[in-house]
Symmetry: C2
Subunit: 337 residues, 2 copies
């Protein structure tokens, strides 16, 4: 069922098989499988994750290419609640390992917040990434384009930039190298540092050699109409014409709630085995939190894997179900009538 | 474009980046990604694979639970052709490794067949499984229930069998063990060997202990209406009431076309790395052909991985695209005007 401030208490002495932190594609897929394995789970979703922002999910097989990410999420949410999963809008503050169970402390509501604690046998971390976007005085100006014609994922949207005039927005010299991959899709690349980093002579030379202009002044605002980028205005008044853009300013894992638990990581990503199990035997990590491609299709498959691994373990530890009325008692130990 | 006998010759001197054998969920996902990476591919589909038979795709995030497999396939096929992929209905007879390229020999058409040969740099094997079904005199009687209430995949459809009277149809003693996993979903299990195997005393004892009756006579026919199984009639006239069933008779990989190429296998499955690359550096294997779960979600993710690995390799070997009009010639080596 949908949980909210009103009915939270109903689940506070309940032990879930699995609590899933994050209701994106990975978390929802895990819940779908878990419920169909007759296990019970709670999905806790803070809202506005990466797939929520995507205006068109163009590379997930089976959906029309203009399907917004939020439609996939809403559809998945409805499905899992139909199958008996619990779903709560809230922010997971801390997970504590109590030995046999996890205690998951959640902040519910921005005002008059409640702080319920839920418990489960297993934990699935599916809380993904927060993309860094350029900070402008008017952030609404950024949101007007981000996810539409200002992209954050080249693998997803490189195709949409084919041969267009494209801005590459970076915050470090390292990220400028994205230009030399992005040029597979378009050579008409202008690089913007938004005043956030120094650029070495070597990199300047490389950009010049490729014909990619470099703009180092901070951005004043993105220009365009109806989510269609047409350019950028810099603080010094420079206007640069663009048709599309890619933000390559890195991202941040949303996994602070795991801070009490010592998990193996590599370059910020959680290390997992082939079934998405982390170095903790009862914690799984999906999608963007682990190593590998940050794609909806990968997160969905990860949800399948983690749910299946958990099901196998719980099933193997459970007594077998017999067809009782077919079992004839051995002679001599019959029930006294 | 859609290829057929009429326009085959248009592509016979063309070198594809990738030929994909199999147009199921994995092959279509690979094609979707490849085309969006500006690579070109040909998908060759023999028709009537496993996902074609599935009447309801209940565990693939984003689709209504009553979506038939064939709808997913048709939708994917339309999408990739829209994106410029080629799609051919045909049966791949043999793949030969020519060093830099693969030659793929296809049989097109059941009558007056043509045998074109197509060439590509990379090969993706996505041709999946063929499930073994009970052989009855009237196979239409099997097809009336298979994929509806007579399932072939417990992970997909165990949930649909919850607490129902279920037949388990096997062809070996080993496969009878499926009962002791299936009982997670229902304890009302009747086991049918269809006269295909001997059953040891030990197994008989185990079944009796669980209360699962064993029927060893061959099946005469499945009973029911509108794809809803209601029982089985055995050749000796025995009638057994059922509400659902699971066929656990194993399956066969469809990968005979790779017979000339020495690929590492484990238990019949192709061994692949984390990007679905086989032991041959330019052959990838997806979904049911490789080790792991046989699920639509996994095949779709595998398509993503293989396409991305191929793109990276082709991109890295290609010259960078420069923004030519921005490149100022060094003084002294200017173009003579």
């Amino acid at each position: 069922m949908k949980l909210s401030k009103k009915n939270l208490t109903e689940r506070q002495h309940f032990l879930y098989d699995v609590i899933i932190v994050g209701g994106g594609a990975g978390g929802l897929s895990a819940a779908l499988y878990l419920q169909r394995y007759n296990l019970n789970c709670l999905v806790i979703e803070k809202g506005r994750g990466r797939s929520f922002w995507m205006q068109d999910l163009r590379n997930y097989l089976g959906l029309p290419p203009d399907t917004p990410g939020r439609d996939l999420l809403q559809h998945g949410q409805d499905r899992i609640v139909e199958l008996g999963a619990d779903h709560l809008r809230g922010f997971v503050e801390q997970v504590s390992d109590e030995g046999e169970t996890f205690a998951v402390k959640v902040k519910v509501g921005k005002t008059d917040s409640l702080y319920p604690v839920f418990r489960s046998k297993y934990l699935i971390a599916a809380s993904g990434l927060i993309d860094h976007l350029p900070h402008l005085a008017d952030m609404q100006n950024v949101y007007d384009y981000a996810g539409y014609t200002l992209h954050v994922c080249m693998i997803c949207d490189g195709y949409e930039m084919n041969d267009l005039k494209a801005g590459l927005f970076v915050n470090s010299e390292g990220n400028i190298n994205t230009a030399f991959v992005m040029n597979w899709f378009t050579p008409y690349i202008s690089v913007f540092t938004h005043g956030l980093c120094e650029v070495s002579e070597e990199m300047r030379h490389k950009l010049k050699e490729h014909g990619y202009p470099l703009y180092e002044q901070p951005i004043k605002r993105f220009l365009g109409q109806n989510h269609q980028l047409s350019g950028v205005e810099l603080v010094d008044g420079t206007l640069v014409e663009l048709e599309t853009g890619l933000v390559a300013m890195g991202s941040q894992h949303h996994s602070h709630y795991l801070s009490e638990i010592d998990l193996e990581r590599q370059g910020g990503n959680l290390v997992t085995d082939s079934m998405c199990r982390t170095s903790h035997p009862r914690i799984f990590a999906l999608g963007d939190l682990k190593q590998g491609l940050n794609q909806v299709s990968i997160a969905v498959a990860d949800g399948t894997l983690a749910a299946t691994a958990i099901w196998r373990e719980i099933r193997r530890a459970s007594p077998p179900r017999r067809w009782e009325e077919n079992i004839v008692e051995p002679i001599g130990i019959g029930v006294v009538s």
